[in-house]
């Protein structure tokens, strides 16, 4: 996965989390994931289709999700509250929406599908062309993981080749 795909997502996550939580955010560990995705806690999954295809998962352990949702709601929420799950989905939606806005300005066109809760314990494994990269955002409320597996479609690769030729 190329940096030009990753950077808008990191920037968007940093900005959305910092504004939503009103706390400093630091990027912690970065890792490549070759094994099958295993859910850490409460996870929201967003699919992208178009010039770039794949998925992004936001994953928080249960206690972090409660702290994050409570802070954003402005009151303490119980772990069972639907609003906790909704908050994780909306965070994912906002981060990806903001990143897509940047990527669209760079000429990539795609559709963002509404976030869904990722409820199964594990998902499909990443493959060579959809290798997953996992960023950990450290906050004082806990760690927020963003797991991205995106790839260019053939149409997008053709566009890039044409753009490169035109730039010569």
């Amino acid at each position: 996965m190329k940096m030009e795909l990753i950077q808008p997502l990191i920037n968007a996550a940093d900005a959305v989390l910092a504004q939503g939580l009103n706390l400093p955010i630091a990027i912690g560990s970065i890792s490549m994931e070759e094994e099958t995705y295993r859910r850490k806690g409460l996870a929201a999954l967003v699919w992208l289709t178009g010039d770039i295809e794949g998925r992004v998962i936001f994953d928080l352990d249960a206690s972090t999700a409660v702290r994050v949702a409570s802070r954003m709601a402005g009151s303490d929420l119980p772990e069972s509250d639907m609003l906790v799950r909704e908050t994780v989905c909306e965070l994912a939606n906002q981060v990806i929406g903001n990143a897509v806005t940047t990527l669209n300005d760079q000429g990539f066109h795609f559709r963002v599908h509404p976030p869904v809760l990722h409820t199964s314990e594990q998902g499909t494994s990443s493959s060579e062309d959809t290798e997953a990269i996992v960023f950990c955002f450290e906050t004082e409320l806990g760690s927020i993981f963003m797991n991205m597996a995106l790839r260019y479609t053939a149409k997008a690769q053709e566009k890039q080749t044409q753009a490169a030729k035109a730039g010569r």
Partner: protein, 148 residues
């Protein structure tokens, strides 16, 4: 927290009535909280475009805040249908996906403005005042408090 002078309807001095449309309960609650800061009244909520049309017909709000990416019917299509039936409808799109084509499509199909998520209250406040135009007045905060 920033203080906002209440925005009232100029015709009767009553709070502006809003319809908030978003498939995320969290986003609806967040917007409702922000509108409260502006002295607004939440007339109703809807979770998708189909429900938004029905709720608009039923409630006739002064202003609609409408998400774009939603199940059943997306926000831009719902906005178009509402404006076809009610040309006076004032709809502001509120979405995390803020690229130019999306904004242009929304404006061409009847939306009056666009606000990107995460919503900054001070931005939404200015957009609401702009969209309502002469149909709204910014009340004196102290006087508005005394009226309540």
């Amino acid at each position: 927290m920033e203080q906002f002078a209440p925005v009232r309807r100029s015709k009767d001095g009553q709070p502006v009535r809003y319809l908030v449309v978003d498939d995320s309960v969290f986003a609806r609650k967040n917007l409702a909280h922000i509108l409260e800061l502006f002295g607004g009244q939440l007339a109703g909520e809807a979770g998708d475009g189909v429900a938004a049309i029905a709720e608009y017909e039923r409630l006739r709000p002064d202003l609609v805040l409408m998400d774009i990416t939603m199940p059943r019917m997306e926000g831009i299509e719902a906005a178009e249908k509402i404006v076809q039936q009610f040309p006076e409808a004032r709809i502001v799109m509120v979405s995390s996906v803020g690229y130019q084509e999306n904004i242009v499509a929304a404006l061409q199909r009847g939306a009056r403005h666009f606000v990107q998520k995460p919503v900054k209250p001070e931005v939404l406040y200015e957009v609401i005042k702009y969209v309502l135009g002469e149909d709204a007045v910014v009340a004196n905060a102290a006087a508005a408090g005394a009226q309540q």
